[in-house]
């Protein structure tokens, strides 16, 4: 299945091979042991996919968001956690590419380093005390010293692949006296951080993302602060790109659950040719549910790419924010629904964890979707925006 035009077929083919040959055979173990999908990330590094989004002038592949989204889909199809790790990394890269600003050589240099060293970047946006409200921070950048060096300390409840990342993009208040919503994003290297682990990581799904809590302390140069307010980064890039890439991972998971249900029905039909097969009807119903998800995810990607290439100012408008929030809510509810219906098709062999038709991992992974920024929180934002937005 191809989701959109505008993709780099060569890169997607490479990603599909990694998904099939590396992510798929390790997916069950990654899930069972809640371990990082190290071999998949190593294969992505080997093929230089971690820097795919970096512009050509900085040495990257200059891949389109369509290509990256398709890679998220391919990886998510074979291992949800691998797809999510890749998606989250690319979100941080997209924020730097879009908002490094003219004349911010630190970020240009760092992006060159992402290319050369295939750096893996994690994010610290949520915080103890603000929960999933990314638009507010408790932690703040300290007053810079005479050499332009500053610090922060942030209580991070969930940092995916925190122990495996080379760098972290963290949201913090702009200054010690700044308001909670007056935020910046800081990119710090692992060597500049002290990460004190908090608690364990034994979750329901997305186990391979390895996302325990940390107290994150950093000491860095002020050039490492992205030069635009986080509110702009969030509206134009981080939020819509997160919703697009996450939903491609969820579509991948749901598509594989559908494929397994289909394989189950085909095998049953082969055993008793010509006999009525109630599961086949349910499979047909399942396909229409999957196609709704596929349509929303694909359309949102195209709309974003058109806006990004054309009238980028429109990305900050409330009607646009509503649109990409809606993608997140719709996809995060539809993906687990497809997985659950696939379980209904496969029955007990889908429920067992060790059959070719197992969909338990898919269902558990997809259930994380609604709380990666709580849908309730997004609904509350949308409810407010709907009061004032005109055409939605």
């Amino acid at each position: 299945m191809t989701i959109t035009a505008g993709t780099d077929a060569g890169l997607v083919a490479v990603a599909r091979r990694i998904a099939d040959e590396v992510a798929a055979p390790n997916a069950a173990e990654v899930d069972k042991e809640a371990r990082f999908p190290a071999e998949t990330v190593a294969a992505l590094r080997e093929e230089r996919l971690l820097s795919a989004l970096v512009p050509v002038e900085l040495g990257g592949a200059g891949a389109s968001l369509e290509t990256i989204a398709q890679v998220c889909f391919e990886l998510g199809r074979r291992c949800g956690a691998s797809g999510m790790v890749f998606a989250m990394h690319q979100i941080q890269v997209a924020c730097m590419v879009d908002h490094r600003g003219a004349g911010a050589p630190w970020f240009d240099d760092y992006l060159r380093e992402v290319v050369a060293e295939q750096r893996l970047i994690a994010s610290i946006t949520s915080e103890v005390g603000t929960g999933g409200d990314m638009g507010k921070s408790v932690a703040a950048v300290s007053e810079p010293d005479a050499e332009g060096r500053a610090t922060f300390e942030k209580q991070a409840p969930t940092v995916s692949y925190g122990p495996h990342a080379d760098a972290f993009l963290t949201t913090v208040r702009r200054a010690p006296d700044a308001e909670p919503g007056d935020q910046v994003a800081v990119l710090t290297r692992r060597e500049q951080m002290e990460m004190e682990p908090q608690g364990t990581w034994d979750p329901l799904g997305m186990r391979g993302t390895c996302s325990p809590g940390f107290v994150a302390k950093a000491a860095f140069a002020v050039e490492q602060i992205l030069p635009v307010p986080f509110s702009t980064i969030s509206a134009e890039t981080m939020t819509p790109v997160s919703h697009i890439l996450w939903s491609h991972v969820w579509l991948g998971i749901a598509t594989d659950a559908f494929d397994r249900a289909r394989a189950f029905v085909k095998a049953a039909a082969k055993r008793k040719p010509g006999e009525p097969l109630p599961a086949a009807i349910r499979l047909s119903e399942l396909m229409s549910e999957l196609s709704l998800l596929r349509a929303e995810v694909g359309l949102a990607l195209r709309e974003y790419c058109d806006l990004h290439a054309g009238d980028r100012a429109k990305l900050a408008e409330m009607a646009t924010i509503l649109r990409f929030n809606n993608l997140k809510i719709a996809a995060s509810e539809q993906a687990p629904k497809v997985c659950q219906e696939a379980l209904g098709v496969c029955g007990i062999v889908g429920y067992k964890n060790d059959t070719p038709f197992s969909v338990g991992r898919h269902l558990r992974d997809a259930m994380s979707a609604r709380l990666m920024v709580a849908n309730e929180r997004i609904h509350a934002t949308d409810a407010s925006l709907l009061l004032i937005a005109k055409e939605v």
């Binding site: 308001e179 900050a316 934002t381 407010s384 004032i388």
Partner: protein, 83 residues
């Protein structure tokens, strides 16, 4: 202009939930940096539409347009409010 700005300031005082007194801020001061949250900014927009009996365009409904008394005055002028 002064009358329009006074009315804008009244709306912000009532709905903006700033952490400082609006009278202590210049017309070009950043309202978000003065503590106006996203939710409060929507209430400011609704109250401005009501107070000036206008509708903003979708292209104006973004954070940057409601950043200061000046930028709000400019948006109101664009939708036909006489300065």
């Amino acid at each position: 202009m002064d009358e329009m700005n006074d009315q804008i300031r009244r709306v912000i005082r009532e709905h903006g939930h700033l952490s400082v007194d609006i009278d202590s801020l210049a017309d070009d001061a950043d309202l978000y940096q003065a503590g106006m949250a996203s939710h409060a900014s929507v209430n400011v927009m609704i109250a401005l539409e009501d107070a000036f009996d206008v509708e903003f365009l979708d292209s104006m409904l973004k954070r940057s347009v409601f950043e200061s008394v000046d930028s709000i005055a400019q948006a109101l002028t664009e939708v036909g409010v006489e300065a």
